[in-house]
């Protein structure tokens, strides 16, 4: 692509971070991103979603969906992008686009509103996108047990569920490591 060879074009990996309103998506992406969390928007028209899917935005012909993302350069030829996307079902058209070609996903669950994660979990399961559940503990204490959350969310045995603090870079790294490890296990098992 660049015959002069001055600017090597990296290969990219995409990770989707999905969670309910205020679950900490932007915080998580920023904690790992090497650039201040980037931001763009998609204009959603009744054409880009099925009209039936408009849910809460009925009567509006267009609405703007904010999308924040971060970049992590692993080396000159490998860059990871993290995309945060809202977990409400009316944003499913964004999930479709983001899930396409994604390495995997992080479902960011908010312990105060676990039910907000049901829809995205269903979605990733149905699309066969590998995902981990990261439980963002807002009460400051890690009093929640990952296993209780697993039961509440009814995710399969093979899906990692771990506690995290989206504000802590090390904690976010742990979440991403967990996801990539899961993908590696899938790759090795031929799944």
């Amino acid at each position: 692509m660049d015959p002069a060879g001055q600017s090597p074009v990296p290969d990219t990996l995409k990770i989707v971070v999905a969670g309910g309103f205020g679950a900490g998506k932007t915080t998580l992406v920023s904690a790992l991103s090497e650039v201040e969390s980037l931001h763009t928007e998609e204009v959603m028209t009744s054409e880009s979603v099925g009209v039936d899917d408009l849910g809460g935005v009925e009567g509006k012909s267009t609405t703007t969906v904010a999308l924040d993302f971060g970049r992590v350069t692993l080396d000159a030829s490998t860059v990871v992008y993290l995309f945060g996307t809202p977990g409400q079902r009316r944003f499913a058209f964004m999930w479709e686009e983001l899930a396409q070609g994604a390495l995997g996903a992080v479902v960011l669950a908010d312990t105060r509103r676990l039910a907000d994660s049901f829809d995205v979990i269903d979605f990733f399961e149905s699309r066969g996108v590998p995902f981990v559940v990261a439980v963002n503990c807002f009460d400051g204490q890690r009093t929640h047990r990952a296993e209780d959350v697993r039961v509440a969310l009814d995710v399969a045995e093979g899906v990692p569920v771990l506690l995290c603090d989206a504000r802590e870079r090390e904690s976010v790294k742990e979440v991403v490591v967990e996801l990539v490890s899961l993908v590696l296990r899938l790759e090795l098992s031929g799944a």
Partner: protein
């Protein structure tokens, strides 16, 4: 130039939206679908300086070096849908080149995944 600097110049979100839509001739879908969110786009070395619209000029300047479609949207201030239409035109005219990682179609192999794990742990 970033979305932030266009705000400083006093463009309202609305006026910056209307022009690109008229530029795209009302099209909301590009004529081709080469541009995923993480596709890398780079301006082609220009042989003869072609006259281009200021919006296209802006896009070309942001992708003077390879940059993802998502970052290009962020830094040019265009919504993704509009940007894709404009990029498709630039691609048709040979003014940009695009590269989409093979990992969008196929999961990286185990060796790559191990490398990725190692690098993330080192961050």
């Amino acid at each position: 130039m970033s979305a932030g600097s266009s705000e400083e110049e006093g463009w309202s979100a609305e006026s910056s939206l209307i022009r690109p839509y008229s530029l795209t001739g009302g099209r909301t879908r590009p004529s081709r679908s080469d541009f995923s969110m993480t596709s890398q786009v780079v301006a082609a070395p220009s042989v003869d300086a072609q006259e281009v619209d200021p919006e296209l000029e802006l896009i070309l300047s942001v992708c003077a070096r390879p940059v993802s479609v998502a970052e290009l949207a962020s830094r040019s201030g265009f919504p993704l849908g509009v940007l894709r239409v404009l990029l498709a035109d630039l691609l048709d005219r040979g003014q940009v080149m695009v590269h989409t990682s093979g990992w969008e179609r196929q999961r990286p192999d185990a060796q790559t995944l191990r490398m990725v794990l190692e690098r993330i742990r080192e961050l």
